[in-house]
Chain length 340, copies 2
DNA sequence: TGCCCCATGAAGAAAGGTCATCAGGTTACG
DNA sequence: CGTAACCTGATGACCTTTCTTCATGGGGCA
């Protein structure tokens, strides 16, 4: 199967007996053209179904009006929502979006960056994979002056703008909620320790403990690799602890959902035996029984803010200085934690 | 903020005192080059962090090695899974993927097609929006010999390959399951009638009724516009019917989930008062109480098959003749329907 | 009435970065 | 000495945009 030939300006020019530059001028509505000539050209272009070749155009003007987006996993409802916001607002400003996923690996993250840079995207929006613990590839991007911005999963040492949630504040809120509703031994189930959101949400957890005068117990912090298998392994570890926690705060909802899946056939009652809370507000968190207490982080809003800021920078409407945009989160108490 | 300058072959050529064509030959590992010359060039290119400009390359070879994908909504778990499969298998064969969403509107579907065609994508994979009831834009694509393939939401009149599930078979299975488990009045809640999957799933529903010698009752078919509001409106209509159905088959899971959301506070018991089944197997369908009986349609597998076939056609490894690939679905009985 | 100048509209060339092809130069072998 | 092979350079092509130059017509002045 051969890709069909598309009509070029040269063909229109030949048909009308004018030059290519006249075609170009007509189609960009230039004043340097006689109205009759313009009309003839516009009509012929339409009749011949002419569409500009964006490759040639972009090569000539050194701009593609395309942004690259890299997310860890496209099937995550949160990242899909971010993408949706990015795409809607990029389109509103005349930009296209090229979306890639890293499948949570550093190697694919690097490969995606290479491909997008070769494709001459005007800028990049990147959320780091869970495996990313080295940042040379980002520093390289920075040194080559390729515009990019980090969102949600970021690194604070890279001097570019970033958009995050108030991870510490959200984690503080949910941990406090667990403590206020009677929990004495609150556990934090974290993701990989290098991950920004793991660190920040742990800080919020510790902050709430401190405020209640509780000394942190290392036994009450567990690390998940963020796979379903990893989560279920931790569910078992917790279930078989000599002294179980009475409240569990999970870094992201999928962890909590997996804990519930494992605990239900074991007869563990939520919240009676152990209260449970997450972070993210996945669709499934609202419909599970009992509905999961969680922290809402609106992905669409994040995407919108991230792309708006990057485009403002690209178009000279915002300073190039890196800024940090922090979105507030909202605690959503549901039935997986006790009532106040 | 200006996008940084990227290194060109011309710059390497100047640095090494060779021609641009020698650089090109070295970097594509051509045999028409002295090994020493090649080595010098490859090393310098690496040192200068050279990356080919894919715009220029694609313009010259008339190929981008990029596929365009258009889905109705990226936040749908099913479509996100399709995209994941498409991207993984496209990447394996050296292709990039440019993903767009139509937000379930025909207008955006058309705009996305235009943009992707202008971007000179080598082919398109399209799943139609729920609003799409005219197909001129697809016929135009076909007449211009632009390679494309339809998946999941297709149109049978367009002479291109398509990948679908056995929608009729899946719907037949789930309706039969409802009938076999005691339902006497089974309702079908459909999406827009023009939509391929609405029609096919209705056919399966009617087929199962016929097999049980049941005359279809027009009052037992309702049309949803596939919005949450539309679904909840139908939930209320059903609840207030003079004679309710005792089993409800919903065209896609999100309809069923919304029915449950509305019925739960009304005290309607599932499956005791009304059994309920869906189609899609969203993540939430497994965790809701009671877990929803549904039909599994693996999006990743669909994406994989779709992109593999399109690429086979593009690369001359498969005939250009349109074929229809039908994936089997699997009934997943859960607690929203009665046990056999 | 003729000539010159200015304005308008258009053509042509060069540029963007890369690839493919042809031609040329040099060396070795018959 | 002639021919073939190897290696390299130069050039044109891909499609579009932008800038400079050119041509023509009209108006004004002598």
């Amino acid at each position: 199967m051969k890709k069909g030939h598309q009509v070029t300006m040269k063909e229109i020019a030949k048909k009308l007996g004018v030059s290519v530059s006249t075609i170009s001028r007509a189609l960009k509505d230039s004043p340097e053209l006689h109205p009759d000539t313009k009309k003839r050209i516009v009509e012929m272009a339409k009749e011949m179904n002419y569409q500009p070749n964006l490759l040639a155009q972009s090569l000539r003007i050194s701009r593609t009006n395309t942004l690259g987006v890299i997310v860890p996993e496209i099937t995550s409802h949160f990242f899909a929502s971010c993408i949706s916001g990015i795409q809607d607002y990029a389109n509103k400003r005349g930009y296209n979006v090229m979306i890639c996923q890293s499948n949570e690996t550093l190697e694919l993250e690097k490969a995606n960056i290479r491909t997008l840079v070769s494709s001459q995207v005007d800028g990049l929006l990147i959320s780091l994979s869970r495996e990313t613990n080295k940042y040379d590839h980002l520093l390289d991007l920075y040194n080559r002056e390729i515009p990019f911005l980090l969102f949600d999963r970021v690194n604070e040492d890279i001097p570019v703008s970033r958009v995050t949630f108030n991870d510490e504040g959200g984690a503080y809120q949910v941990t406090k909620h667990l403590l206020e509703t009677g929990c004495k031994r609150v556990m934090y189930v974290s993701g990989p320790e290098d991950l920004y959101i793991s660190k920040k949400r742990k800080e919020g957890y510790l902050h709430a403990l401190a405020e209640f005068g509780i000394t942190p117990d290392p036994e009450l912090v567990k690390i998940s690799d963020l796979t379903s298998e990893g989560n279920m392994k931790i569910a078992n570890e917790i279930a078989f602890m000599k002294q179980r926690p009475d409240g569990v705060f999970c870094m992201i909802d999928p962890i909590a959902l997996d804990l519930m899946f494992v605990w239900k056939p074991m007869g563990i009652k939520i919240p009676d035996d152990m209260a449970l809370a997450g972070f993210t507000n996945n669709p499934a968190s609202a419909v599970i029984e009992p509905p999961l207490t969680t922290v809402a982080q609106p992905g669409y809003e994040m995407g919108k803010l991230a792309v708006t800021h990057l485009l403002d920078q690209l178009e000279g409407q915002a300073s190039d200085d890196p800024i940090s945009i922090v979105l507030e989160t909202t605690l959503l108490p549901r039935q997986s934690t006790k009532a106040l």
